[in-house]
Symmetry: C2
Subunit: 423 residues, 2 copies
């Protein structure tokens, strides 16, 4: 039925039917959670052999006793895994602790307080440092940026990545733009993988931007494919070499959603000059990361073949959940109500309601016992300009719970939409 | 022989004998290291059961799946261990990652940039924030402080801890003094354990200092006793309650020199108001620490009895090394050459040469293949005002190497002293 052409009576009847459905779901006192991109316990089980995997052997391939202090760049085999994941060289890849978010914060802090090439390159010395934020994006990137007092500018995204015309025009117009956040593969939450052209244009930004400009390339979902025949992400490191802009990019990855989510190891890669500059701060704040856990991780994932084989097991668990989400949405909704992404990897389905309805839908779901990520979370300052985006995270709940949660979400979307058309 | 009363001929002959000994040691092409307080591999072996200790059980005592994201304060059993180590309450104790140094940095950064109670309490807003630094002290505390641009003021130490008359007078004279670094038990490097009176006077500082003043109480050697019948450190938390100054103290500890040095877990404790304020920053920079490793640690060390039993094994390895150092120094040197501490715990012997000789001795040792901590390292800005302090770290080398390294150090001290008397 076409909502716009429906008679007031038909709409009223639809509204009543949906309200009854909603009230019936509410009366079930559900308590379900679709908020965060957490692996399910079934996925975590895949890596349980980590504990005990060393079998008493704590010395790494280079003869380092991983149990003792030291080694700011991490053990060489873990750095190799990071380099392979990111498509960089081991010499310019570090392996650090369990939180890639933490290392992104530290890189941002270093550039803000101390500067990538001395105090007069510090972002904090600029009149109004600004960071470009493709939206919707990852809320925790935005929290770091806001926390440092760096202004955030929204940039539109489509299925090929950020709108590069916008990005280039903004940078040319304002030399206080000091960086851009990117989740280049299966972008959080839209699932977009940046096209080759977008990757190349991002690599070229170092030629038009402030010399302290940095691309924060968070390749969080580098191997998190939901289909076997996935789209390759272009290698930004290679593209930077072609443009002579290697200093302008910091790459990050982790095994957080590969092994155990709270106990992964993380990686960062950039040029030797950038790493040396960063280590001046990092070396003040820590003696080094947990190298025993790095060794465990490379025992489980000694190379990319092993990593892909491991990720295939994740896919077997995750893909049916994404299929369920897409099937339910397809069966129950059409573009009068919402549009949504069909991700080939990553952890989210990004759904857009009609304008001005996301907050309402999320509040209604919450009342019915289904918690969704807060409205606006995937936007700087928590402000979704159209109030339409809802991030669905299907990984954590078991399939039966996921199905119930989706039915609640769908009824809320329908009811809120119909009420808006009626008003 | 009394150097000051010796004839020039006698001194010359002594100098020649010592030079010959030194040259002979030099010709052995030694390569020994007494620099850092690292556990030996024998000590690290004591905790090798950590890997595999979970036996497939990753759920903690509170039902938390340690493998997944979340839990900024850490798992409850690890927090309990931290509270027991520090003599505080579990509710106000957090367990975090592998580096207590890192968490000290983060607390300092938070107080500096954001303030313990809002921006106008930020240390960075003060004209000239200053930190009191009992010396000799821990070089990495000083690096953090210098890195943040906080001025450091030396405070004298004796066997009872910092000179509290100095501390109180400095604080009363300057409201820009925002904190003091303390290693209250087996202070690094002097080995001093603060007396009850000193602990009480430190707890009372909150009554005379700036309200953003913080004691950074780094109880790094809380259970690192070299004798069985060790001196108890007074409970600063209790003393603060008596003075109503609970907000003025942050306590830190870790298992770095209890289990595996690079893979320990760390603890911080303060008031709920302080923790809440700190979590506003910490929660932006990480989703949480490695909880699996926290669970492993409490499996190995479920309570203080188990911890003391474990530390007794460390003692059995460490005490003979310290005995060797003290015996060699006693046999070969007297106060004409040097004075040194006789620690009952911790990781160092702190030795004072005659004034103006530490740099020379350290350089001579290095030439003979024995690396010592850089001269001045235990002082702010790396400047030992008397150029006399040498930190000896006997834990890492095997006993036979330690003995050779000491013989080199002793000859260097003798030779440098005699040459100075002659000049």
């Amino acid at each position: 039925m076409s909502l716009n052409n429906a008679t007031p009576e038909a709409l009223k009847q639809l509204e009543q039917t949906l309200t009854a459905e909603y009230e019936s779901l509410k009366s079930q006192n559900l308590s379900l959670d679709l908020t965060r991109g957490k692996p399910s316990s079934e996925q975590l089980d895949l890596s349980d052999s980590l504990d005990g995997i060393l079998d008493g052997e704590f010395i790494d391939s280079a003869g380092v006793d991983t149990r003792n202090y030291g080694g700011l760049r991490g053990i060489i085999s873990a750095r190799q895994l990071g380099a392979d994941l990111l498509g960089t060289e081991v010499a310019q890849t570090m392996s650090v602790g369990n939180s890639s978010l933490n290392i992104m914060y530290m890189v941002m802090l270093n550039n803000y307080l101390y500067g990538c090439r001395g105090k007069d390159t510090a972002w904090g010395e600029l009149k109004a440092p600004k960071m470009l934020c493709p939206v919707p994006g990852y809320d925790r990137h935005f929290s770091i940026t806001e926390n440092l007092g760096i202004e955030m500018i929204n940039v539109d995204m489509d299925e090929n990545g950020p709108d590069m015309d916008q990005v280039e025009a903004l940078i040319k117009a304002d030399s206080d733009i000091i960086g851009i956040w990117c989740v280049p593969k299966y972008s959080n939450p839209s699932g977009a993988t940046y096209s080759d052209d977008v990757v190349d244009r991002i690599a070229a930004l170092g030629k038009i931007a402030n010399s302290s400009f940095r691309v924060m390339w968070d390749n969080a979902y580098a191997v998190h494919d939901l289909i076997e025949d996935f789209k390759q992400l272009a290698n930004i490191f290679e593209r930077c070499k072609a443009h002579g802009t290697e200093d302008s990019v910091w790459q990050f990855a982790s095994t957080s959603k590969v092994t155990h989510a709270g106990s992964g190891i993380s990686f960062l890669s950039s040029t030797e000059d950038n790493l040396k500059n960063f280590e001046k701060l990092l070396g003040v704040t820590t003696i080094g990361a947990d190298k025993v856990n790095q060794l465990r991780t490379v025992k489980l994932l000694p190379n990319m073949d092993a990593t892909y084989a491991h990720m295939a097991k994740h896919r077997a668990i995750l893909a049916p959940k994404f299929d369920l989400v897409l099937t339910e949405l397809n069966n129950e909704l059409d573009s009068q109500y919402a549009t949504w992404t069909k991700p080939e990897g990553g952890y989210f389905v990004s759904l857009d309601t009609q304008p001005n309805l996301a907050k309402t839908v999320i509040a209604m779901s919450s009342e019915a016992g289904v918690v969704l990520t807060g409205a606006g979370a995937p936007f700087p300052y928590g402000k979704d300009p159209k109030d339409c985006n809802i991030r669905i995270a299907p990984s954590f709940p078991p399939t039966n719970e996921l199905k119930v949660a989706l039915s609640v979400l769908i009824v809320c979307i329908k009811l809120a939409t119909v009420r808006q058309v009626m008003s």
